[in-house]
């Protein structure tokens, strides 16, 4: 952690320049990211859209420090993370950068509460504080009553909410969501988007979510469209276009 200074509040959460990711070598080389530059200010909710193979998931993995870019620089809160050690990458994951996955990825042998505590276990947060923050996060996403359930006793929507609680409990700077509604039915998907919008509006959490569904994308305030590893459109969702999950439910 020593290489990473406390966040400078004025800097954008993400500032990436000419990020490139090339898979394979020689003949079978695939350019998944072709020099994209990106700036996301604090508190923004962004949808990353495009057909499969457009590079949106790769960008997500690079931004989430799950993978390293082949070239380019990546600043999180003004700190250059392009050359940090894998130990530092690991220490930022789950603490400063949190994930929500399409396939949810709760550990099946742990209760909801213990799943939510997991990132804080690795962050060496003391047990009492860990328990408190996990309980708070589960309450905030509306599954406070399910703390002792095992993942196989949760519906898809409930499990994804637990996964969101796991992501936000450590108080991250950035939430990355990869097709968060992809495995859910329409109603559960809407609930999850509602939770995202709530966290974004009430806590000012910066959220980047990958989706191929335009309806899901319209829940964000900004949409970036990708194709062949490049950005082809980057625009704000106008007030009238924007969808609010809670209003849809009541409508």
């Amino acid at each position: 952690m020593s290489q990473v200074q406390p966040a400078a509040s004025s800097a954008p959460v993400i500032s990436a320049t000419r990020l490139t990711k090339i898979y394979g070598q020689g003949e079978v080389q695939v350019t998944a990211l072709d020099g994209v530059s990106l700036e996301i200010p604090r508190g923004q909710m962004v949808a990353l859209m495009g057909p499969s193979g457009s590079g949106k998931s790769t960008l997500m993995q690079v931004l989430g420090l799950l993978d390293r870019p082949t070239a380019g620089t990546y600043l999180l809160n003004g700190q250059d993370l392009s050359r940090v050690s894998s130990r530092t990458m690991a220490e930022l994951r789950g603490r400063r950068i949190a994930f929500v996955f399409q396939s949810i990825h709760l550990l099946p042998r742990l209760s909801a509460l213990h799943n939510v505590e997991l990132p804080m276990v690795y962050a060496r947060v003391p047990a009492a504080e860990r328990r408190q923050r996990a309980t708070d996060a589960l309450n905030r996403v509306g599954v406070g009553a399910l703390v002792h359930r095992m993942p196989n006793q949760l519906s898809g929507g409930q499990a994804q909410r637990v996964a969101i609680a796991r992501a936000v409990a450590p108080g991250p700077d950035l939430l990355l969501a990869d097709e968060p509604t992809g495995a859910l039915d329409r109603a559960s998907g809407r609930e999850v988007l509602g939770v995202f919008q709530d966290l974004n509006q009430s806590m000012g959490l910066t959220i980047v979510m990958v989706t191929h569904d335009p309806l899901v994308g319209r829940h964000a305030e900004r949409i970036i469209e990708m194709e062949d590893g490049r950005f082809i459109r980057d625009y704000a969702v106008s007030g009238s276009e924007r969808l609010w999950a809670h209003q849809e439910v009541s409508a």
Binding site: L66, R87, R93, L107, Y122, A123
Partner: protein
């Protein structure tokens, strides 16, 4: 939630697999601990036996002139050995040696005559001619009577062979060849190696025995030094006396302590050798653990990916998987020690010596199994730790 809780959970989830994997270590630890513990039991039993009989005994036995061969009279026996030239006079000379630290002396002769309860009958019981100090030297206590030079003394087993239905054989008659002797003493049942022989024997005064058998030489002379520190000095004094009387050096002098150290070191060597062989099976057990841990890591790519995405460092993953293999080996080791405790107490009971595990063997085996789990767990754990989270999460 700590590494060992995760490890226990994983081991419990795959119970059958864990049991089979740990079996290699169970067998290895069982073999090492049982063999070393039994070896230690045998060693301390032998030492105890000698301490009981007394490490103060020096034996003079016949030898080929100048051969200098150190014979162990108790085990190497006189038959087939050098013809004896030792006489009662030699025993008297040793007893009379000036300033020698000698407490007791007795000549011993094997009397080749039959013993029975009717004239000329043979009961198969051996007959020895000894002198009164013999029983003190060999520390065989009397049940009744004493060796007063008038009649015979029966060993505990010999009394039962000769008089199977008689509770107290004192005063009865025993025939050596055709000569009748009165039983004037009965010996207590001795325990241990040295007493096995005397249990089955009948003792008569050596002078009478030699005369009846027409012998002039004795089989050996047993001498007791006045303390364990003086055994060497006693042996030197005996050697001086005997060399003066037998310039051709047709005798050999053996200290019991030499025999003790020979037996002890032989037992130690055998124990170490067997334990070394057993340690190989522990090694094989370790390879079994490595094999299963590699499978486990492959099966749990997704879990590893999730954990890494949630901020687990490479070290956290490494510790988790090493903990699992160490725990597996340690459980195997503990079961092995348990089985070995049972086995060695059974063997000790059957063989008739004090059983029980040696603490050092148990500690060594447990330390060794932790080491085996650690060493053979590191490679699979490193494979897990080095996975990139994306690669791990991609496996669905």
């Amino acid at each position: 939630m700590n590494a060992f809780a995760i490890a226990l959970d994983s081991i419990w989830r795959h119970r059958l697999r864990s049991v089979l994997t740990a079996l290699g270590v169970v067998i290895g630890v069982f073999a090492v601990v049982t063999l070393t513990s039994l070896g230690a039991s045998v060693r301390s039993y032998v030492q105890g036996q000698f301490a009981h009989v007394g490490a103060t005994i020096v034996t003079v036995s016949p030898a080929n002139p100048g051969s200098g061969a150190k014979k162990h009279p108790r085990f190497a026996g006189a038959p087939g050995g050098a013809p004896s030239t030792l006489t009662l006079a030699d025993a008297q000379a040793i007893a009379a040696a000036p300033h020698a630290p000698i407490q007791r002396v007795s000549a011993v002769a094997d009397i080749p005559l039959t013993v029975g309860t009717t004239p000329g009958a043979s009961s198969g019981v051996a007959l020895s001619g000894v002198q009164a100090p013999f029983f003190k030297i060999e520390q065989i206590p009397f049940l009744h009577g004493r060796f007063d030079g008038s009649g015979v003394v029966l060993g505990y087993g010999a009394a039962h062979t000769l008089f199977p239905h008689v509770a107290n054989a004192m005063g009865r008659s025993v025939y050596v060849g055709t000569h009748a002797f009165t039983v004037v003493g009965l010996l207590k049942k001795g325990s241990g190696i040295a007493a096995l022989q005397s249990n089955r024997e009948v003792f008569l005064p050596i002078g009478t025995g030699l005369k009846l058998a027409g012998l002039s030489t004795v089989a050996e002379i047993v001498v007791q030094a006045n303390s364990t520190q003086n055994v060497g000095a006693a042996a030197t004094a005996i050697n001086r006396v005997m060399t003066a009387r037998h310039p051709s050096k047709n005798f050999s002098i053996t200290k019991e302590s030499q025999l003790l150290s020979t037996v002890t070191s032989t037992v130690s060597t055998i124990t170490t050798f067997l334990a070394g062989l057993a340690a190989i099976s522990l090694l094989v057990g370790g390879i079994g653990i490595m094999n299963i841990m590699l499978v486990t890591v492959t099966e749990r790519f997704r879990e590893i990916g999730i954990r890494k995405a949630m901020g687990a460092r490479d070290g956290d993953i490494l510790v988790q998987f090493v903990a699992e293999s160490v725990l597996l080996a340690l459980l195997g080791g503990a079961v092995g020690v348990g089985l070995s405790a049972i086995a060695s107490s059974i063997v000790a009971h059957l063989a008739g010596f004090p059983g029980g595990l040696t603490v050092s063997a148990v500690v060594l085996a447990l330390v060794f199994s932790i080491l085996v789990g650690g060493v053979f767990g590191v490679l699979p754990a490193m494979r897990a730790a080095r996975l990139m989270p994306v690669d791990a999460l991609r496996t669905e």
